[in-house]
Amino acid sequence: MNTKSPNRPMKGMLVIFSALFVLLASYLFYSTVTYGEEWFSSPYNPRISAARKVADAGSIYDRNGIPLAWSVGSERRYAENPEMRRAVCHVVGDVYGKSMGAEAFYARYLYGYDQGLIDRFVTAFEGDEKGGDVYLTIDARLCEYIYERMEYNGAVVLMNYETGEVLALVSNPTFDPEAIPDENEEGGSQYLNRATQGRYPPGSTMKIATAACAIQNGLTNAVYNCPGEIVIAGQRITCPRDGGHGEEDLTGAFEDSCNVYFAQLAVALGADRMKQTADAFQFNHEWHFADFAMLESSYSPGNNDGDLAWSGIGQYKDLITPTHDMLIAAAVARQGIMPEPQTLLDVRYGGRSAYTYTPQTVATVTDPVTAASLQTMMRATVVEGTATSADIGAAAVSGKTGTAEYTDNGEIRNHSWFVGFSQDAGHPLAIGVILEGAGFGSRYATPLAASVLDHAIELGY
């Protein structure tokens, strides 16, 4: 028999076991306190869509107090006007887990889960478990105005670029949150928020980044001849204008949106510099906004000059969300600082505000000198270039059109783009418009953007 008593090491092990179990309990407590709210309000949480809890949920209003969602007993009701209901459906969302809107992202407020542990303890005892009322930054009537004018699938997003408040966000096709489930209609794509989740080739709107790259790298005086088409590393790039644009400098090529010029410019800049600028403009960047979910945009210069040329004019593998493209215009307007888009304006518990809207920025994407040059070029594009239909009287609008090619069942079609901003301290508005398969940017997206900006300024934004 081994004579050493095992009691001493047993005591030691007991201390270790106790420490492990205390760690277990502490970690459980710590993780729930730290991440509990974030986990609970995750769009993956099936409990949010459980209709049973709806009775306790708060209401959702637009910035002017128009009710957009509220509970009647165990039923969730949405904006009374059916056109408005559809116009704001992607921002508001639904309680069935079909779309990712305020109903999911702000569930922690709507169901009162943002309260601290102590507050929840108190409310649990008081038996008053009604959640908070959420006020969104959007103007529902403005959204409806936009929705009525969207003749194509696509997205429109309008933001105050000084504060980052999203004033309107409309994605078409829409759905009726009161008529869910209607899954088969449109193959479910009506639930997709195209403004934040749709990834499109940016087309000529990419030339903002390409031009920024040229300015930053001192390539402002490059002059290329545009005979209407050019072949780079075996790939043929054309300009839609018969006979081409002729001799072009940077400003002229930007105004005319000359593909042949920018393709050569991208090749002259080289893959590394192009990639660097694209990354600075937040391509290939995962967005982590507190109250806003957006897919990543992508840019790759490819492996040869042909790919590089296409990537410089927003084709090849370039993909961007309409909201990100709008943010690029906003960053130009703000001397290179990209604001963070936010849709949550206020949260109120029984009329008492429990949230303070604070403007945030994403990053400084370019220097003020480059931003100023881009402002001039984008203003010129509206005054005498491809975007003349955006030249409204109410404010000095600057912008860039885009016509992005894509293939639909073997047939080449064009997305119509416009991104721009109003250079006006009283009306700091940035806008992004995409109309799927509509055709030229100058012909479809630009007039819509003009009428939206005009109307927004009329409303005092």
């Binding site: 095992p6 179990f21 277990l24 459980l28 729930t32 609970f40």
Partner: protein, 416 residues
Amino acid sequence: MIIRRYGVAILLAFMILFLLSAFLLLSFREGAFDSAIMLSGTVFAAFVLVQYNVLAAVFRHLDRFVLLITDFLQIFSIIMLYRLDPATGQKQFIWILVGTVLMVIALVVIRRAGNFGRWNTLFMVLAVGMLGITLVLAQRTHGARNWLTIGPFTFQPSEFAKILFLIVTAYYLSTRQRKRDLWPYFLFTILCVLLLVAARDLGAALLFAGTFLIVFYVGTGSLWITLGAIGAFAGGAVASYYIFGHVRTRVQVWQDPWANYNDSGYQIVQGLLAIASGGLLGTGLGNGMPQSIPVAESDYMFAALCEEFGIIVGVAVIGFYLLFIVRGVLIAMDARTKFSKLLVFGATCLLALQSFIIIGGVIKLIPLTGITMPFVSYGGSSMLSSMMVLGIIEGVAVKNGEYDEAEITEMGGELQ
């Protein structure tokens, strides 16, 4: 003594009240009163009362704490299972009944038997045989090949091999003076762990290896060999990370379950969402959605409990396990023979590791390995083996009490 019994009565009364009110809530869940569910709850309450009183009367030296904690954990188990699915709850009730019988048998055997002497060789062959047959015959479930089907029953042989492993461990470490005489035991342990790893039953492998390391250290007192063995097992664990894809997946999922939400991370995320949704006080019984967690009734009982009863009860359950462990170690320290000491210590260690590994996995403190939560998770094999472990601990506790009584009588005193 009288005061202690008074305390036990209050505790029991509280437990029964908790059980009955929970079943009252459950009976009204479908709108109309479901008398079958209320009846089940009442019968279980009666069972707990009878079981405790009969056992305490028959075995005067029974450790009441350990038994009461087990009862409490089983009450949580029955409530949660009836809430998730009454049919599963009913089956669990039967397993608890059978488990109680096995517990009493284990208690009596341990109280009477010595260290099983030569039987240990047979135990080793039996344990390795069971694990080996499982590996060859078993069907895959949840990535592990650890179930055997015999007729209408499916059972998990590793659960029963555990008991044999505990006895063999205590026997060798208490009877062999020289470390080189321990080679059959080392071989046995390594074989068990390898068979479990091959069956992809990582949780059980971790449990065997961990129990071996701790009991070996306690039994021999040689820190250096223990550290060496820890190094060897750690090396094995690292190697398995590189060799087996499923081990790598588990670690990746642990690091970021959200990134793997659509496949391997789904269960962990759903568990965390459930715990977060319950918050401090829980949603209340029947108000949560624990059914959205995959295998909520077995591995994920802890998340289901936290959702509906709150993390307060989660912390309390962790406390119950710790109390159980403290009592187990005290019984081990009080035991008269080294075999009994190591047997009870090993049994306690096993339960400690098992509850730590599964709770830690569910709350994402450590990578998740699918093992059951002792006395709480649904499952016949798990419940029966946990109850046998309890029987071993109680057997030694009774033996300790009888020695105390004999010593006091010898001195002319009387034990109340």
